[in-house]
Amino acid sequence: MSPGAWLCLFAPLGGTLAITLAGTRIPRAAAGWISTTSVFIAFGGAVWSFFGLRAHGSGDAHISNAWTWLQSGAFKVGLSVLVDPLSTMMMLIVSGVSALIILYSIGYMHGDDEERRYFAYMSLFVFSMLLLVEGGNLLILLAGWGLVGLSSYLLIGFWHERPSAVAAAKKAFVMNAFGDATMALAFFVIILHAHSLDFTPAFHVHLSGTAMNLVVLGLLGGAAAKSAQVPLHTWLPDAMEGPTPVSALIHAATMVTAGVYLIARTHPLFEQARTVELVAAGMGTLTLLMAGLIALVQTDIKRVIAYSTMSQIGYMFLGAGIGAYANGMFHLMTHAFFKALLFMGAGVVIHALGGEQDIRKMRGIGAHMPKTKWLFLAGSLALVGIVPFGGFFSKDSIISATLNLGWYGWVFWVAALVGTFLTGVYTFRLYFTVFTSEGDAHPHHAAGSEGPWTMMLPVAILGVLAVIGGWIQFSPLWHPLTDWLSPVAATLHVAEPTNTQEYVTSAIAVVVGLAGIGVAWALYGARRRREVPSVPALQRTLEHKFYFDELYDALFYKPSVAVATWWRRDIEEGFVLPAGPDVGETAFDTGRGVGRLQTGLLRTYVFFLGTGMAVLAIVFLLVK
């Protein structure tokens, strides 16, 4: 099974290298196929590891160490991969969804000027993400963590001639670097006390309460930045500047869910700092409400889905934070399916409209694109969590898991249900506005075809997965996924609801979700379009996304600009520039003097070199 894991890890890197080294010697179309093939090979490797692990029984964890990567005294870090239930599950999701999305990209990116670069970056991303989830120790995990940040930066800024894309890429990188830094600081504390970054010793490190809280806060900072949770969330909506398949892959299905993986992976640490773990749950709850509210007023189709992603990751954080790790991971999986489906469905529409992303200009497109319409509907129902679509099984089990936690459990429960209502409203506002309303939008290319088969096939497969993907687990009756993950990330006892609680919560969640859809129908439905009630103050707050960008602007950007301006006006122009000519003259004179040493004659150089060596040798002999 370890060979499978190594194959899974390095196949995408091979794809990147092949595309990069072949350069313009291969046709553009070939780059896409190389990338797709390499990621499908990676998926094969993941399946191989999965069945290997199943044959051994899922209680096993296998670390395969290639070589010692770094050594400093007794501290040693190996380049190693870990095959255990959690990592194989992530390998399957990451490589499987990536393979479909890269196949989709072949159609979507066709004709772009720099297709080869795009596919090289995509493969690089898949490699980085697999390194993150397969890493056999915390340092390899951090390396993958940084590399996914890099590939995300490269892909957000892929259309580098657009200033907004470059700005968004920088923003994402800086915010993620903040998270990387807090994580690295936490790791330093672990190295100091456990003398190792291997999982087992690191998770059994003995720390005082405060130190443990700080370590876990550091980890949580990394997780929140990568997963776009409040207050480190502002980069994700801007990241939609990247090509749509990038949004589907990195900013919906895989990379942004890495924070949930991190919490599940390092849960022994989180459980020793239970307060911080509950802070994570609270953060998730706050995010799911805020993102759901903001999504109500967005008009860019990709931004609506982006806020919905933030909101759904909020649910996963809630699940992982209260100790229901398996439920969080389950929602991660179904979310990967239906959110990739929604993004790619949106991509089909954007592609057909020649790059238009404003939902108000998409009215009426549904009549021309029946297949996309149905698939998008399946994805939307899965997102809201209507029986029997994916989200129903995974989201409701997270909500009901909050019930045994005392008063804050009830707060989480109510907030999560309100979030479900909001999900219903914003999702179907999008669906009704784009697909069922009457309008004059029509595809640019010839009618009859909604897109090339490379685009429609992955969307169809994900559509099927969005419908049936959740059936794998229905907590009250069958729970293979929880059992599979229990050796690595066993659900805390306090996060195990009774069957009655599950049934009641599920029923309420479905009703609330349907109510949300009903409200959306009343407001945005085709034949009965009414004036949307408006509350200007609230609407302005939401359109400004709760003023987070403005706040960070005032807190960080404006003060540094003020300091820089003051520095330039009073220090540079006051002292440095007047002194400039003198400094310059002195430097010129010194330069001329030193320049005379450069005779340009090889023999003098050799002579000085030899003499210097001889002098040094003699000095050393004498001193010794």
């Binding site: 030193v594 320049g595 005379r596 040493l597 450069q598 005779t599 340009g600 004659l601 090889l602 023999r603």
Partner: protein, 102 residues
């Protein structure tokens, strides 16, 4: 141990190195300069191998092999430069090739 003592080997090695160094310092033809460099390297190699025998440790001989490989590549580059200079009809004189003079 059979054969002369290590001092003899080191003496020959120092002599080779000195001859090579003088050649590099005094000759002006780049070809001869390269040749003298080779002699210096071989002097160093001889010392490495002598110490290796003396200490019963194979590492020195491995180093010598590595030095030979580096020397071979360096000569390739050097001769390539000499040929390139010749093709451009420049004088083959290291003192005339002094465009980096300050």
């Amino acid at each position: 141990m059979l054969g002369p003592g290590i001092a003899w080997y080191l003496g020959v090695s120092a002599f080779l190195f000195g001859v090579g160094a003088l050649g590099v310092l005094l000759r002006r033809n780049p070809l001869i300069v390269l040749l003298s460099l080779e002699i210096m390297l071989n002097g160093a190699n001889l010392a490495l191998i002598a110490f290796s025998r003396h200490a019963h440790n194979g590492a020195g001989q491995i180093f010598a092999l590595a030095v030979m490989a580096v020397a071979a590549s360096e000569v390739c580059v050097g001769l390539g430069l000499v040929v390139a200079i010749h093709r451009r009809n420049l004088e083959l004189d290291v003192d005339r090739l002094s465009e980096l003079r300050g």
